[in-house]
């Protein structure tokens, strides 16, 4: 074993990159759940975003348009979920699971002609001046734009939920939809917007996999990342900055696991793969289940 082979700076830098797709998907789901909706279709929306982003990028030649396409694709799929659960009042858990299965198959169908094609490389985008700082520079400020975007979205969501009136309304809808309705807020509209935001974020996370991380399209590309995103939301007890921590923890374990292997350490891979889930369970026990939004996963209808 030769642990000195692991360069901590590069390890932390690649941790930030590895965490980005699950971070994006998780922050979207956090907003959805704060609005009182449980969407288990994150995996399906992610992979749909991954394939939409890839197809747009290949055809339009622009990764920027690709990410936009991914967000739109994810949001549209989420809208299907929104209409089913909010307007037609179907069960959220069952519909979410169906959305995942549908998304996986739908993405495979869309991606038929795109297997094995190379995506254009997205250049890194070092922040001027800041990226020259030793140690911190390469860890924090030498990434592609989407990594910064992910952190910016977290900060934005945090500020939105904490300081804005719209954020207060969204939280009110999530905590007690009857009260919010009595105050005259349009519960369904708020929730539909939140669901679409969640879909767009999941789509971005998926596109990050197919355009930056891999960068290629293959079936089953997300390989469970959507489920990890769902776990992180609970781990974070529905708070944006804790979610960042959770994403780094989960992303870090995958990177660390490979690094330890390459350095010749003989830890069975299974232990490290288990670690983040054990941590989630521990956090749940210690924090007494955080405090989930009061109306989470409940259907709302004005007449009831």
């Amino acid at each position: 074993m030769d642990l000195s082979a692991i360069n901590p700076i590069l390890l932390l830098a690649s941790l930030m990159v590895a965490a980005t797709p699950i971070l994006l998907a998780a922050i979207g789901e956090l907003v959805v759940e704060r609005a009182g909706v449980l969407n288990l279709g994150v995996e399906g929306m992610m992979i749909t975003g991954a394939v939409c982003g890839f197809i747009v990028t290949i055809n339009a030649g622009s990764p920027l348009l690709g990410f936009a396409g991914a967000a739109i694709g994810g949001a549209l799929l989420a809208l299907v979920f929104g209409v089913l659960t909010q307007v037609l009042l179907s069960n959220q858990v069952a519909t979410g699971l169906a959305l995942t299965l549908f998304g996986l198959g739908f993405a495979a169908l869309l991606g038929q002609g795109y297997i094995g094609i190379k995506a254009p490389v997205i250049p890194k985008w070092p922040v001027p001046v800041l990226s020259d700082i030793p140690v911190i520079g390469p860890i924090l400020f030498n990434h592609d734009p989407v990594v910064y975007l992910g952190i910016a979205i977290i900060a934005g969501v945090w500020a939105f939920l904490r300081y804005s009136r719209a954020g207060l309304i969204l939280r009110a809808v999530g905590e007690n939809h009857d009260a919010a309705h009595a105050l005259g807020y349009h519960v369904i509209r708020v929730r539909l917007l939140a669901i679409m935001f969640g879909g767009a974020c999941a789509g971005l996370g998926g596109a990050y996999l197919s355009l930056v991380r891999v960068p290629q399209w293959t079936e089953g590309l997300t390989a469970g990342a959507g489920w990890i995103a769902l776990a992180i939301v609970v781990f974070a007890s529905w708070r944006p900055w804790r979610l960042l921590l959770g994403a780094y923890l989960f992303g870090g374990v995958t990177v660390l696991q490979l690094n330890l292997q390459a350095a010749g350490m003989a830890i069975p891979v299974a232990y490290l793969s288990m670690a983040p889930y054990l941590a989630t369970i521990l956090v749940l026990v210690m924090m007494r289940a955080g405090r989930a939004p009061g109306s989470l996963a409940q259907s709302f209808h004005a007449s009831r």
């Binding site: 590069l10 198959g105 495979a108 169908l109 297997i115 960068p215 290629q216 079936e219």
Partner: protein
């Protein structure tokens, strides 16, 4: 994925339904572990399938199912193929071994061919290519291309075929560069671009400037290209879209002649269970073009090695060779027996790390 399987399944049903009218048609089935567009392992098997179609024309019908997971699902897919009237079925991944044997017991009239395994039966033949011959060439080039003296190796599963490759590449890298070291990462998959990209990135971060892969996708090539100064080799297929750099050469599997010959044997009624293990001399393994990124003298010596293997003058596992623990494996001038190679579960001397059990 499910939906695509459904499509593939319907495709087979349709193909077989139409094929059922023409009784004299021979149906050949292929079970693939990855998608046909993986650009590596499955892509080459599918080229073999297309060669069968082209060679026999209307006399033969081929069907295939792609992305079949190794495990219980494989048995279901193979059974389905046999039930629907396939006469000859090629199962093209190591993990289909037990499934193939189980299904073969139930369909004594159907011929089965399993790639890279070691279990045979009256109606199950096995075939494999001597990939380690190609690995010797890769090691020879890799040892001279590396500046950091660290070569990264993405292993799939710790099975003899993969371990042969690691040992062969390492022996020939050490031969030309006594300071070279190998870092092995096990991905536990044949095809998972995300994981392969991750593994390649980690190896590059730990200082490797040559990446060898025993997984099937081109994702490690893309990772190396992004890193800029890292050398790679095509695996199973030419992967020439990454030439001339980072991909400087490749191991290409050529299954077409074998598939055509075995299909002919079924048509003629001369098919027998057999154990085929061919390499560079027979053309089942070939080496893709060595690009101009490789210095001329290295290219010349690599080509000399290819010729020596082709002529049967050189065996990549020629003694003196010791095992990792220092005990003697092959004495001076002795070459490894096929039995030794097929059961290989140890690293040769000089490799670090343990093989996961």
């Amino acid at each position: 994925m499910k939906f695509k399987k459904l499509l593939a399944g319907t495709g087979i049903a349709l193909a077989l339904a139409t094929g059922a009218f023409a009784q004299d048609k021979t149906t050949v089935g292929f079970v693939y572990v990855g998608p046909v567009g993986d650009g590596g392992w499955t892509y080459e098997h599918d080229k073999g399938r297309q060669a069968v179609e082209a060679h026999f024309g209307d006399a033969v019908e081929t069907v295939f199912v792609e992305s079949v997971p190794e495990g219980p699902d494989a048995e279901r897919v193979i059974t389905q193929m046999a039930l629907q009237g396939a006469d000859l079925i090629f199962t093209t991944s190591f993990g289909y071994m037990d499934a193939t044997i189980n299904v073969a017991e139930r369909f004594p009239d159907v011929k089965f061919e399993h790639a890279t395994g070691y279990k045979t039966a009256d109606n199950v033949a096995i075939y494999n290519a001597r990939f380690y011959e190609g690995r010797a060439i890769q090691g020879h080039i890799a040892g001279q291309m590396t500046q950091s003296n660290i070569v990264g190796y993405i292993g799939s599963y710790p099975i003899p075929e993969v371990i042969q490759g690691i040992n062969s590449a390492f022996i020939h890298a050490r031969e030309v560069n006594p300071d070279v070291e190998f870092r092995v990462v096990w991905a536990y998959t044949w095809f998972d671009p995300a994981k392969e990209a991750e593994a390649a990135t980690v190896l590059i971060e730990q200082g490797a400037d040559v990446i060898l892969q025993h997984t099937d996708s081109t994702a490690p090539q893309a990772a190396a290209q992004a890193a800029g100064n890292v050398v790679t080799f095509g695996q199973a297929s030419d992967m020439s879209e990454f030439a001339p750099f980072p991909r400087v050469s490749s191991i290409i599997d050529d299954w077409a002649p074998y598939y055509v010959a075995r299909t002919q044997a079924v048509i003629d009624g001369t098919w027998e269970s057999s154990d085929t293990w061919d390499g560079i001399p027979q053309g089942m393994v070939s080496i893709g073009e060595i690009t101009e990124a490789v210095p001329a003298e290295v290219k010349a010596s690599a080509e000399a090695m290819i010729e020596a293997i082709r002529a049967g003058e050189y065996h990549p596992f020629t003694g003196p060779l010791n095992r990792q623990d220092g005990s003697v494996w092959l004495a001076e001038g002795e070459t490894a027996s096929d039995g030794d190679l097929l059961g290989m579960n140890f690293y040769v001397e000089g490799l670090t790390g343990d093989i996961p059990q």
